[in-house]
Structure formats: C-alpha cells, structure tokens
Symmetry: C2
Subunit: 215 residues, 2 copies
DNA sequence: CCTAGATTGTGAAGGATTTCACAAGCCCCA
DNA sequence: TGGGGCTTGTGAAATCCTTCACAATCTAGG
C-alpha cells in the first residue's frame, strides 16, 4: 500500500486529496448533467461537505483551472480531474474469485461505465470455470499469470478467502499487476511498486461500532 | 459522517487511530491463536506496517495496558481493544437491498462471527420479499421504520441503487438507526448523530487509477 | 538484593494537512 | 473606461497526527 508521488512534479499528493478529487468529479458530472456551465469552489465544497479553501487547495496542486470572479467551467474542470485521476483512458481489470462478492462485482454496471474494463475472471472451483459472467468467461486460477500477462491487465480485484489472498496477491504482482483492490480482511504484503486498497468490511463495521459505543 | 468523540474523556479520537485498533485486534487474535502469551508494541507494529511508538500512542488514549519491560498480555489487550471498539457485545444489523451485494453480505459469515447480528433484510422487489437469506426472511421495504424500531436495530447496511440511497438513509435515521454502512456512490446527508461509512467501489478504483497514472 | 536488558507511557518535536485571509483578476454595467 | 461585486490562487497560521527520545519500571539471573 504505497506512495502517491507525482512523476515530474516533485510534490507528493496526499491520499485525502485524491479521495476528494474523486468526489468532486462525481458532483461535477451531476452539475454538468443539470446543465450548469460554471461552478464555484464554494458550491463544490457545499455538496462535498468541505470548505471552498479546501477545494481550491486540492486543485491548486495540479494547476489553476478557474477564472477569478467566475468560478470553474464545469466541463473543463470535469475533464481536468478525469485526466488527473487517470480516467481519460480505460483500465483493464481482472477479478480473482467468482464467489458471492466476485460475481456481484463482475456484473456491476458502474465498472465499465467508469472506464474499468473487466477482461478476466478467475476461480479455483472447477464447477465455476468455463461459465460466463457478464460476457467474460471464468478461467481456472492456475492460468492466472499467463492470462494476466497476455491480457496486459493492470488492475486486479481480489475477492478470495483470506487464507489465499496473500498468495494470489504475490502472483498478481509477479504477473505485472500494479494495483489491487482487496476485499479480504488481512492486510497484504506486496512489492513497493504495487498499490493496494482494501475494502475491509469488518474494519468499517468496527469503526461504526466504536462510534456507537462512544457516543 | 461524523464525529469520533469520547463521552466522558474529553479527548477526541482520530479516525486513523480507530482504524489501527481494528487492525491490532486482528493481529492479536492471530497471536492468541498461535499461543503467544505476551506481545510487544514492536511486534504489533511490525505486522501492522507502523511504528512501535504509534502503537503505544494509540493505546495510550484509552489507558495503560502494558507492563514495562515485558509488553502486553495478549488476551488482556485483545479484551481491552474489543471493549474500546464496542465489540464486547453484539449489534443488531439490518441490510437494506437484497440485490447482488446485499444478498452476498447477508450470507457473509464474518458478520455474525464478529458480533454483528443480521436481524432484518429489506427489498422493494415483491419477487424477493418473503424469501429467506441465511435464516432471515426478506421484508418489504415499506415496513422499514416499523420493523427497524421493533427490532431495535442499531446499524444499517445500505446496498440499494444510488437514486434511492438518500431516501432510505433518511428513513433509517428517523427510525433510530445511528450507524450506516453505505455501498452507494453518492455521499449521504444524515443528521449529526448518525455515523456513515462509505464503501465506495468507484472511489477506490479511481484512487488506484490515480496511483497507476502517476507512477 | 542488585544489575543488565527490555519495553512501556508520554511530553515535546516534527511533519502533514487544513483553514485563514487577502491580493490579484475577471465580469458586468453604467 | 472605471468601479463594484465576486471568486480564485496561495503564502502563512493553525490544527491535527506521527515520530522521537527518554525516564520509569518490569523481569530475570546471579
């Protein structure tokens, strides 16, 4: 789980900044759909539960996209944030694990809609191998490395039992995957050039529990 | 999405601290299973990718649980963190939305194992209402408030389409739910005494995309 | 009982992120 | 063309979080 360094620009971008950019993007798309031509940092802040200064600071790391006195051009800012987040292209994604969660994800509309192209699905269970999920057939996880390499998949979604998650993560790293979205509970150890994000249900529930217990 | 204040103790606990406590707990359980009687902040730090000072500082907000020169008693510390996180009891959980994600969650073992008791499941689709999921029958979402109140559910998991998420969140808040785990993409507006955590797949994918695009 | 070795608990320092506050710049209208 | 009203972009201040560093204290062993 590493690193949010920018390539040429020496500055390191904080994770909360990236998270907020993703939020802003969502709002901008709404505003665009609603036909708003320009938007101010204050309006963006309002819907995003933050401050206008925060919005401007976040954007300032990447350039100056607004017009003083006016705000931001909705379409232009949308495009800029898309570019910043690397969403001005599609990414090839493989899903490992075609159980409950894996197959729910594979059929998830929002994936393709947002430029994440599911090109491969893997499972160990021979009963599942060969079946199609949303247009992609399930492959035997034995062939993971070869297929990932051939497809040139860049992102992997890991929806396997926790006992095998680490092993798969290592194999994915070796096969050239540099980004993993992990649904298992234990943190993964991966090479420094691999980014891991965890969707840890247990942890989120425990944070809620803490909040309730300490009201 | 609010607030990590402690009740009597005036100090506010930072979210990263709570997140790490949840991690420590997982490791402690592993260590306990492995038969380790005591554990040092350094060992805990090692598996959790942090520093021993961080571990000790995190714990220090809640008391002093260790023995100088020795470390922490594994079992005792486990119990303490459980108590801190409010995991020394069970919480009643309802799941709203019995689609792909909702039903995957309903059948998720880890839920009950960790003290989160799924007492109700709701859906709009009349074809789903009445069916059982892991021992709990699916109710019509029309009866949400009444049932939530009767069951005294404290936590809700929201796995509904984004268009209706806000509406359901409001209804849940009014029905006495103070914690929501939300799987939809748009942030929810809820009263200040309701804590919301989002598992936002799109956002996590976009953070990965950013990391890849800016390597 | 005393010393060596280990580890905690915690103020204080350091670093990172957010917020403040204001000069600079743009648009509109007279 | 010039003034008023707004909003950006950004150093500087404030706040929040992490790391440092060390006194306090424990165990074990002779």
């Amino acid at each position: 789980m590493k690193d949010f360094t920018s390539p040429i620009s020496v500055k390191r971008i904080a994770e909360p900044t990236v998270r907020r950019l993703s939020l802003y993007l969502r709002f901008l798309e709404d505003f665009e759909k609603a036909g708003r031509a320009t938007i101010s940092s204050g309006e963006l802040a309002h819907v995003g539960h933050t401050t206008s200064a925060q919005v401007r600071k976040d954007l300032s790391f990447f350039g100056s996209f607004g017009k003083r006195g006016l705000g931001y051009d909705t379409g232009a800012l949308t495009a800029q944030i898309r570019r910043i987040l690397g969403l001005d292209r599609t990414w090839k994604v493989v899903i490992v694990g075609a159980g409950k969660i894996g197959s729910a994800l594979a059929q998830h509309r929002g994936f393709r809609e947002r430029g994440f192209d599911v090109v491969g699905i893997f499972d160990v269970d021979p009963h599942r191998v060969g079946y199609m999920l949303d247009g992609v057939s399930i492959s035997d996880v034995k062939g993971l490395e070869a297929i990932v390499r051939r497809l040139e998949a860049e992102i992997a979604v890991l929806a396997v039992p926790p006992e095998v998650a680490q092993g798969i993560a290592t194999r994915l790293s070796k096969a050239g995957v540099h980004a993993i979205l992990d649904f298992s509970t234990e943190p993964l150890k991966v090479p420094a050039d691999v980014t891991v994000r965890s969707m840890n249900l247990a942890m989120e529930m425990e944070i809620l529990s803490f909040a309730l217990a300490n009201r």
